[in-house]
């Protein structure tokens, strides 16, 4: 109802003007609608193709695929069948994404507060330009940097001290290796910072000034004012974090290059591991012989696709709902 009031009705009036114009409009509408259908077709076809190609593995391993702990495309004896289970991969994806969020989110929120609340406009424009450049760097270059710069640095300067201080925790025990789950998490943290901070900054910028003025009128300090802004934009921030989570889960190249790629239900973050995405990047082109091998990798892709769509869909929904409040009042 609302949208009808907002927009002039010249469109429906056109109908009476001339039939020729109407048919032009109609065919134009049909043309662009048809092209816009690519969105449905691509998504539908993607699901169909990936499900169809992983069907063999779904049928062979059933639900056991999700909880299985072995990955043996080429079994040691010729009599036994290849076996696949994705639990260590799911575990790897969840742990690296969680590390990325724990490390990346506070930094991102700090950045977006610094840019939207504490800095002069000019400075924050200038800096957000650089933060956005971080998002433009290809993932394979993050990976290269991870292998040759970050890993040697962490191995020499961070992990020994980490283990000395927090070594009593099981997650920091064991031999220190450069390529590890923790390294993967750290690289993901760096990669999600631009995504999360850009959206959180927009969310904070959409907080109405009356909130800030009210806080200042009550005698709030600059930090307390920022807290008011954060709590007002809470749900938008949650959406931003989930979008970051989606990015972390789907990230492929950088993590493939630094996680060590061992199929391993790790308990220490200093062990190497694998994620859903990294095993596909690593093994797909070589997985030709048993058809079930390709199919199993497809099913891994299917799990990844489902996870990514669930997380991102939820994130978009949250962001959409949190900004709708602001949109309806007409402040944006």
């Amino acid at each position: 109802m609302k949208t009808k009031e907002k927009r002039p009705k010249f469109l429906s009036n056109l109908r009476s003007i001339s039939k020729r114009k109407l048919s032009g409009d109609l065919s134009f509408k049909m043309f662009v609608t048809l092209i816009a259908c690519n969105i449905f077709i691509v998504l539908g076809l993607m699901f169909f193709q990936i499900i169809q190609n992983s069907w063999l593995s779904i049928q062979t391993y059933g639900i056991g695929f999700l909880v299985g702990k072995t990955w043996q495309p080429f079994p040691p004896s010729s009599s036994s069948l290849p076996s696949f289970g994705a639990l260590p991969l799911i575990w790897g994806t969840l742990v690296t994404s969680a590390i990325a969020l724990v490390l990346g989110v506070p930094v991102s929120l700090g950045i977006s507060l610094a840019l939207s609340e504490f800095s002069p406009k000019r400075f924050s424009y200038f800096i957000s330009f650089f933060v956005e450049l971080l998002a433009a760097i290809p993932s394979v270059i993050y990976g290269l940097w991870g292998i040759f710069v970050l890993i040697p640095f962490l191995q020499a300067n961070v992990y020994p001290y980490l283990q000395a201080v927090l070594g009593f925790l099981p997650i920091f025990q064991g031999t220190i290796r450069g390529p590890s789950v923790l390294t993967g998490g750290i690289i993901l943290a760096i990669m999600i910072i631009p995504t999360v901070s850009a959206i959180a900054r927009d969310v904070f910028a959409a907080v109405p000034n009356s909130q800030r003025e009210a806080a200042i009128a009550l005698g709030a300090t600059r930090w307390e004012k920022a807290k008011v802004v954060m709590s007002y934009g809470r749900s938008g921030v949650i959406g931003a974090i989930m979008l970051g989570l989606g990015r972390a889960m789907g990230e492929t190249m950088a993590i493939t290059m630094v996680i060590g790629n061992s199929f391993n239900l790790f308990s220490s973050f200093l062990e190497p591991g694998s994620t859903l995405a990294s095993i596909i990047a690593n093994e797909f082109t070589e997985a030709s012989s048993p058809p079930v091998y390709i199919s199993a990798l497809m099913e891994v892709g299917l799990i990844l696709l489902a996870l990514a769509i669930a997380v991102n869909g939820l994130a978009r929904l949250i962001i959409w709902r949190s900004t709708r409040k602001v949109r309806e009042v007409g402040l944006v």
């Binding site: 114009k21 990936i50 840019l115 933060v131 040759f148």
Partner: protein
Amino acid sequence: MISLAYLALVAALIPLASILVETIFRGLSAMSFSFFLEEISPLGEPGGGIGPAIQGTLIVVALASSIGVPIGVFSGIYLAEFRQARMASVARFLNDVLTNVPSIVLGIFGWTFVVVAIGWSVVAGAIALAIMMIPIITRTTEEAIRLVPATMREAAIALGVPRWKTTLTVVLSSAKKGIATGILLSVARISGETAPLLLTILGSRFWFSGFTQPTAALPVAVFNFSQSPYRLIDWPRAWGASLILIFIILAINIIVRYATREKYGASNI
């Protein structure tokens, strides 16, 4: 607490600075005239260049753009012009979801869709990359068109111009800067994509030999060199290829973002 926020800012800029400095210095050591022009020698074999990878990236990105740009722009027009249609809001939501589908999954999709039929090929890579760029272009085109003042549209309609003509001339030409921004940023984005290419164009050491053949690409070359055990020969080549790649991508980004400042929703990409 405020100083902590600034500390976070500095912490985020350190990796950026480190990546740029390391890539430039380590990459420059691999640069030579022949590095740009020669075929890629096998891993561990000195000499050779990166020529086919540069060529391959240009060809794949150009082909992907020629598929993706028209589809993306027209889908964006649909979302902006018919935004009240129920299908439009569903399409907008799914488009956002599609933007965030992991790139490796697009690679798998390209594989099932094209590689199975015609083998590892330029076409497969281009289709995977086109699917990646379409949602980005759709989104930025929609946003650019929405920024066109309603008065422009009304003026054209008052002059008796049919609506479709208004859209294709008046509206598109006032939104062209924003649309171009989206296109260029999506080109920059797909130029650096590795995961989908790994599963579709496979990589090669030789010059382009047809659209249905595997080809080389810069990001794939970076990955392959980085996995090599020959540190003295291949690692500098990885950095050299990275330097070329990062130069192309950052040049597009800096020029586009500088030229358009903060007008368009570039931060959402």
